[in-house]
Symmetry: C2
Subunit: 339 residues, 2 copies
């Protein structure tokens, strides 16, 4: 149902007035995400979603994720416009990309917000961000849970996690099996850290968050840059059936994510100059004295999403996916080589 | 895929050795839950699950939940056998019941474990509990996320949340619409607090957790009694098509949960002597000086699940659902009346 009155504020210890205000604030946001699949008015405990009609062999793709310690930085700048909404959007976009790599498009989302103490405005901002990213992905915010747990979280801190369910036809699952050496590797820019590497970044940049980067962006804002959804860029590619494999570059960076989308015996060679490394990564490296290899093991280094297509299809794929560029090729071997 | 190597340990700041040990410990547990719907070997980011063949109009039922501050008590007694596993089972069973009320049976589950610092043995115990309850529900543990967030959680504390996806035929959704005054209300015993009311219970019983109840059970163990899954009792009832409405008695107790399963203009009258109130509730009331009404607003008071059937079907329903008994009837009006 996705009705906000399912959100479980009922645990003992919850400030029910604050909870009621929060519910009022988010009810409209949640309802604004409802797609035709959502069944309203049936029961009131879990959310109900009818699968799109006419699918041959529907396969569900599901993923649970959190936003990690990006929340700690967001809390510090929570008074700045859009910061908490951004964290909500980060979470959803991360999850969208995680099922997208298998060729699945989003059906619905459920969020989990837990904190030391519910601050209605903060919860509303987080859910507003979640809802806006759901709307953009054409996905219903079907349910959620909001928990106040004073003995568990540090004062004022919160955690945000979510689960996405998408769907793909059985014979359209993108599984990497057709990848061969010589295939082209396309990259899509991340624009920043996305949601990974924040513990290292905060350590490296402690005390320098309010400095300004050469392009005029404050460091803290560059760090909080939104986790991009690659659905708009990749959807036309999927429809074209040109895609052989995809990887979402999250924790573990390129070496930790690209290889697991490839069949055994294949790796990739990436041309380092082929994409832009956002300036915030240079600052993290120099300020934190972080070795180059560690940078690539922890951060996406500017490549947020990777798509493998046949070399002959590269030009067509580039024209279908706005913002993409060729960043390397598939090679015999294993792992990621940076040339 | 549900493969444990999807569990996102990759965030900066994670102790990768500890994470590797945890992964070893839980890999087999996760694999042991795989049902035929799980697609193995396809991609490696999200989990893939093929819907059962032959459904006419499949409707997905989804719910996200946590275990609340039951975790705080569990941590205090974490060295006792089965305590952390029990928390994992609590989470799953809670979610199973939440989709069961709409007539849905479980397909798959995803868990989210976050803590101040990953303790591999503790994470493994939690996931072992999650996996065992998934197996009993015939449900795959399709994915999960494990996050270490030192700045967010208090020292040694953790949170555990999860998402269930179940399925039901469109015309078999249980929605309460056929409920009329005179229908019989059947109850299933909770055996304890399930996962609600722990902040109040801990306040009321602080310093008395190691006392022993009249039946010989230590107070802490009575508090940690498992959140029962009502799937085994209710499944035969669902197959019989006798069920008109169901409620899972969670946060908000009977008044907070039973009415929302009923159509407008109907309420229930429950006969207080018709079910057993476990002794731990008497102790909470007397030790904490908690008013009777508040007890019913916060706790399930021994009734974990409620099923509405036609009065004429009550005898048949009782024989199909082991442990059930008639606890009241539907009346014209609204809300819950305790007679």
């Amino acid at each position: 149902m996705g009705r906000t009155d399912e959100r479980a504020y009922g645990r003992a210890g919850v400030d029910l007035d604050a909870a009621a205000r929060t519910m009022d604030l988010i009810t409209r946001e949640v309802a604004s995400t409802y797609t035709p699949g959502v069944l309203r008015g049936l029961g009131a405990f879990g959310g109900l979603f009818e699968l799109p009609a006419g699918m041959r062999r529907p396969v569900l793709a599901a993923s649970t994720d959190g936003v990690g310690t990006k929340t700690v930085l967001a809390r510090r700048y929570a008074a700045e416009p859009g910061v908490l909404e951004g964290i909500g959007r980060d979470l959803v976009n991360h999850c969208v990309n995680d099922v997208l790599v298998q060729g699945a498009t989003p059906l619905f989302f459920l969020d989990y917000v837990a904190s030391e103490r519910l601050e209605p405005d903060a919860v509303a901002a987080l859910v507003r961000g979640v809802a806006s990213a759901c709307r953009e992905a054409g996905m219903a915010l079907l349910g959620g849970e909001t928990a106040e747990m004073p003995g568990v979280y540090r004062e004022g801190e919160f955690d945000l996690a979510g689960t996405i369910v998408g769907v793909v036809e059985r014979d359209e699952v993108v599984d990497g099996s057709r990848v061969v050496p010589g295939d082209a590797v396309l990259g899509l820019p991340s624009g920043g850290l996305q949601t990974n590497g924040f513990s290292l970044a905060r350590r490296a940049l402690e005390g320098r968050l309010d400095e300004v980067l050469p392009d005029g962006t404050p460091v803290w804002r560059a760090l909080l840059a939104e986790h991009r959804s690659f659905l708009p860029a990749v959807r036309p590619l999927l429809a074209s059936r040109l895609v052989k494999a995809m990887a979402h570059v999250t924790g573990g960076g390129l070496p930790g994510n690209v290889p697991r989308s490839l069949p055994p015996g294949t790796g990739v060679r990436l041309e380092r100059g082929a994409w832009e490394v956002p300036p915030v990564f240079d600052l993290i490296r120099s300020a934190g004295g972080v070795a180059e290899a560690e940078m690539y093991d922890v951060f996406n280094m500017g490549l947020g999403f990777v798509v493998v297509v046949a070399a002959d299809d590269a030009a067509a794929a580039l024209s279908l996916a706005p913002g993409s560029r060729v960043v390397g090729e598939v090679v015999a071997g294993a792992g990621v080589e940076l040339a």
